[in-house]
Amino acid sequence: MLLLSAIVLNGYGQQHRVYDISDTNKPILLEEIIILHQPDIFEDSTLEFYQSSQLSNLDMMLHHMPDIKQISRGAFAREPIIHGMSAGQIKVTIDGMHIYGACTDRMDPVTAYVEPSNLKDIELGTGSAGMAFGPTIGGSLNLHTADPHFSSKPVTKAMLSADYHSISNGRDLAMQLLTSGKHLASEITATYRDHNPYRAGGGEVVDYSQYNKLNLSWIGKWRINSQHLLKADVIYDDAWDIGYPGLPMDVGFAKARIFGLDHTHFVRHRKLSRIHSKVFYNVIDHAMDDSEREVPIHMDMPGFSQTMGAFSEAFWDFGHGHELMAKVDVHRHNAWADMTMYPENEAPMYMLTWPNTRRWIAGSYVRYMYHHHKHGIQVDARVDYANAKLTTQEGLNHWAVFGEDLSSADQRLTYNLRGTWGYEWTHHLRSHITFGYSERLPTLSEQFGYYLYNAQDGFDYIGNPHLLNEKALQATWNMIYSGHHATASVKVFGYRIQDYIFGHIDPSLSTMTIGANGVKRQENVPLAYITGISGSYHFHLGHHWSLIGNAEYLHGWLDNGDPVPQIPPFMGVSALRYQGKRWFVQGESDWALAQHRVNHAFGEHPSHGHSIWNLRAVYEWDMFHKVWEVEMAVENIMDQNYHLFLDWGQIPRQGRNIKVGMEVHL
């Protein structure tokens, strides 16, 4: 009964069940969900550890998650990368909603639209485990937005917080307003951020690293009766005057409007436990310009992306350890982007860089689980149909230049299949073996991109309408220990990627961008391999001390022997906390070894290692019948000048930062 009501309240029973496995307080559930280690949910331990206030940003939280690394082009909106795979190789969703960026330069990952104030948890699936959210080879990252609970008596709660960062003269403000009753619950959040260019270690200001943003969200829930639950999500995210020091352009504005409407039907009839359905719509509007930069010719590069769709998923529990989930999912994505250059005393030059594309994707997914005693198996399968078209004659004309007649739709299928076997050695120790085959669609840029400049290798990229789907065979073995005072896991994995999409120099083409090194065309490389090992741990040492952290090592090579690009060096994070009654002090370290295995063709440079130290303290007290909290932190205590391997342009990261924050719960 208690479990059931938890499901009703959250509307995401499945994911909560998944989460329960890592909850050491409920060992009784361990057997039941033995194989559901993926998607891994990082709710409490990791997130809570670093989400010391509502103001820490999502980028910082992702930075501390195992299996996730970030590609950085500045201080804003870092792009997640899972096991060396990013962009179209992974699937990033908000509450399962498909959202596509509107920037041809990948300045606007989906993770930019959720703030800690409206984030409930982050659901990560690596490799083929991501297939629940779409055809993907690298994995999925699903951001669950806040989930206001119902309460038997009407409740209104509010939270206000503010902080200051010395490094960028940056100010952050956040607010939450929660109202809930027996049948209705609502949460409104607002986050405002205003940061100037920051100083790198040593004191030098990194130009074009400022940003401003306002994020507003409303989440409403209506429990119609014991069987039906409605939930609405609205996210309004506006960012403006954002600098990207790793790129030759900045952003005038980046706007996202995201709408979702969920319905959950708790059928509880025979074996069908519930049906969860959702319709969604979002538009992303992005305007890049280089008006602040010194360039021979100024240009504007606006982009636009619009996605609408729906999915429905049903859950059956057949008893005796048999469970089934089935999902159908359809969405349509429209996008365009163009570029206008303004030479002095000359006609403007205009071209479409995403030539008015439209893609329908319809898929279905099933997951079957069975567990018996110490064994469990899970089988996942997914198939998708995609139909892509250029919708305007203008767009078709652009591609005619390359001898391509794209007037008929590009139709393709993707298949994903995965099997996992889990075994529980003891009450505390279990392991899983996964084999997966996955496919993903080429991205819009990879297929239809038109002279997209890549600042890292300095080449203009031309898409390739004839790209094959990228395919991966994956094997993963992991071992999880979860005892009363410690959890630790280690994971070994390998991917054999077929038709890996990679740019090749086409010497016959002349560059579009002034000063570019040449033009590359997207091609399928026959084979690429990525292997790695990652581990994470969380130890409780006595009553007061705890230690948390993770580390990952990746190794990748293409069939010509070159390293796979975007493979970070061995790196990790860890934090040691002393917990007092109403306060804690926490020391954090963030380290990486040097990376010498670089893909020169991709424009990569070797990176030095680094190790950064932070100190953080939080104190909480009651005053005027309210709970107050203050946070003080010194980040990058040694004021080191460093950058990470995946940072574009080798732009140095923030130097020593003093952060002061205050939070009050009303």
Partner: protein
């Protein structure tokens, strides 16, 4: 019930998206005057005929398609069964010269006599152009002289030079512009004429033409261009690809067999 309503909402959202594209009405066509799209250049009368000369735009130095409409003033009928010839003449005081011509002859489907003249100089202090229209109605040749004004475009549409091969001809290379330049594949047509005498400018049909588009401001070109090859009457047809709008320069190289006739010439095209 609620589940149904959600499903319905989803269907509605999809349907709305599909509908946005549709819905265009076909207007009922009124009878069209074929000269509506053209600019009247000059008109005159001879005997019972009113002669009107139209063009796409004001006359310029280069290849000008001309459309002659002949109206019989006695019955206000458009005469479609004549034979029409054009004779441009520039009077420079001490001398006179004509220009390359493609004669209209009989009328086209619109009842217009369509011919082309390559005006090789602008009107001005140096001299003025007269366009003589000759009508043959089976009852003797009738002529009307029309004064026309020719200006130079800011981007040259005709290039003239002395061929550098043994023939050393005075050549005129004219760009035949499409209705609109656009990003994508564009037809690229030039005509080549030579000056045989001051009155005779025959087509040159034995050249090889190579083209190379470039954006001088950016220093890039475009792929998959098709060199113009001779079609008929000194017309060379090829394709030029523009990857963006703006200022383009299309370089030409003319050869006769292995001999270089001219390189280093170009047409500037801004759109």
């Amino acid at each position: 019930m609620f589940y149904q309503s959600i499903t319905r909402l989803a269907v509605l959202m999809m349907a709305a998206a599909v509908m946005v594209a549709g819905c265009k009405k076909d207007p009922v066509d009124p009878p069209i005057d074929p000269t509506d799209d053209y600019t009247l250049i000059q008109s005159g009368t001879v005997d019972q005929y009113e002669v009107e000369v139209y063009a796409h735009e004001d006359l310029f130095v280069g290849y000008n398609p001309l459309y002659v409409q002949v109206t019989n003033t006695t019955n206000n009928k458009i005469e479609e069964d004549l034979t029409v010839m054009l004779m441009p003449m520039m009077d420079m005081g001490t001398m006179q010269h004509s220009a390359p011509i493609e004669q209209p002859g009989t009328a086209n489907a619109d009842g217009l006599y369509e011919g082309q003249v390559v005006f090789i100089m602008p009107s001005g202090a140096m001299g003025s152009w007269t366009l003589t229209v000759k009508l043959d109605d089976g009852d003797g040749m009738k002529e009307v002289d029309l004064n026309v004004s020719v200006s130079e475009k800011s981007e040259a549409r005709m290039l003239t030079f002395l061929g550098e091969d043994a023939a050393q001809e005075k050549l005129f290379v004219s760009l035949v512009e499409p209705a609109e330049w656009e990003v994508g594949i564009n037809p690229f047509k030039v005509t080549v004429h030579k000056r045989e005498t001051m009155m005779d400018f025959p087509a040159v049909e034995d050249l090889t033409v190579e083209i190379e588009p470039e954006m001088p401001t950016m220093g890039h070109g475009s792929p998959n261009n098709v060199d113009p090859t001779h079609d008929s009457r000194g017309h060379y047809r090829g394709e030029v690809n523009f990857t963006m709008t703006g200022f383009w320069r299309v370089h030409l190289t003319l050869k006769r067999g292995a001999d270089m006739v001219k390189d280093d010439i170009y047409f500037d095209i801004t759109f």
